[in-house]
């Protein structure tokens, strides 16, 4: 069985640990690397070539700068940007240009996204980003 190979590089530490705990028991998902240092991400992606990179979404209204660079260079990879203070995260992938989809910041939302099924995630109608 092909496992989804994930590099976990989101912050802060607690949110990264919660993501790791969410992935830990999944037989079809494998954590292939972890870092808390943003400066290491490019080097790790180059070395590990993960299927999915998980980073922090610091400003929910704008795409993290690293996405354009990494998806241009590694178009087969996908990026899941997790917002620590909101209930919406964003899944980015390259398809001619860069596409994105909103993902619920929950265990199911993250696992669905990692299994490349972000379209199956229901999104809240509330534009505030609050998802109860």
């Amino acid at each position: 069985m092909h496992k989804v190979r994930v590099l976990v590089a989101n912050r802060p530490r607690l949110m990264r640990e919660l993501v790791l705990a969410t992935i830990a028991d999944q037989p079809d998902i494998e954590v292939v690397g972890e870092t808390q240092d943003e400066a290491e991400i490019t080097e790790l992606v180059e070395r590990i070539r993960p299927d999915v990179l998980i980073i922090a979404l610091q400003e929910p209204e704008s795409r993290p700068g690293i996405c354009g660079f990494l998806l241009g260079r590694y178009p087969q990879m996908k990026i899941l940007a997790i917002a620590p203070e909101r209930n919406r995260s964003i899944f980015y992938w390259a398809f001619v240009d860069i596409r994105s989809n909103q993902v619920q910041t929950s265990e199911d939302g993250i696992l669905n996204a990692l299994r490349r099924q972000p379209d199956l995630v229901e999104l809240p109608a509330n534009p505030s980003g609050r998802y109860v």
Partner: protein, 221 residues
């Protein structure tokens, strides 16, 4: 001396769903901790927490902010003996001091590990306090500042009347204008007038700003 509690019952209150779900799973694996509920903030959440009767409330600061900062005093009043641990988004001085004044006895930052969160839950259940080192300094500084400044001088400087100082204390306890009016035998409009006058005097933008300013200056202690 602190005594370890065998079976700590915890309620998790967090706006972030991942935080609720994954923390519930992680803490539930600990043999000495039992998660008795988890929820986002809602107007009914105090009742929900009271019904679960936890030993410890583990709350993120976002949920407290959504309650217009009244949640902690209300939930502590509803659940006697409840210990509250707050997960702060950052090491913000004012948020931390506000939490301490509201009765929070454990404060951890999001840079903490899940193990540290579990340890904080155990500590407060054993009648100990938990505070990140960088925020511990804030407590020392605050105490030193309050001791330095004679309150009568500040009262004169802020120009608060005796009645206004009384209102500061009541607002600080989380009372609404209506509740204050009832207690002081005044009309709600009179209380509103007093509050507006105080805001103008001290240059604060809201009622809690007046309380914060007075507390910082040592007036309402």
């Amino acid at each position: 001396m602190a005594v370890a509690v065998e079976n700590v019952q915890v309620f998790i209150l967090a706006e972030n769903r991942l935080l609720r779900e994954a923390l519930t799973r992680i803490l539930s694996k600990k043999s000495d901790i039992r998660v008795v509920g988890a929820s986002a903030f809602s107007p009914q959440v105090v009742e929900q927490i009271a019904a679960a009767a936890p030993d410890v409330l583990l709350s993120d600061s976002a949920a407290v902010a959504l309650s217009e900062l009244r949640l902690i005093p209300e939930v502590r009043a509803a659940v006697p003996g409840l210990k509250v641990v707050m997960i702060g988004m950052d090491a913000d001085r004012q948020t931390f001091l506000r939490a301490v004044r509201d009765g929070v006895v454990g404060y951890v930052l999001k840079d903490a590990s899940a193990m540290e969160i579990a340890a904080a839950v155990r500590c407060v259940a054993s009648a100990e306090a938990v505070c990140p080192p960088q925020l511990c300094l804030v407590l020392f500084e605050q105490m030193a500042q309050q001791a330095r400044i004679p309150s009568f001088h500040i009262r004169a400087e802020l120009g608060l009347t005796r009645r206004e100082q009384q209102l500061v204390q009541m607002i600080g306890r989380g009372l609404t204008n209506k509740e204050i009016a009832t207690q002081l035998n005044l009309s709600e409009q009179t209380v509103k007038n007093h509050v507006h006058r105080m805001l103008r005097k001290v240059g604060a933008t809201d009622r809690f700003g007046v309380v914060e300013l007075c507390r910082t200056q040592g007036v309402s202690a």
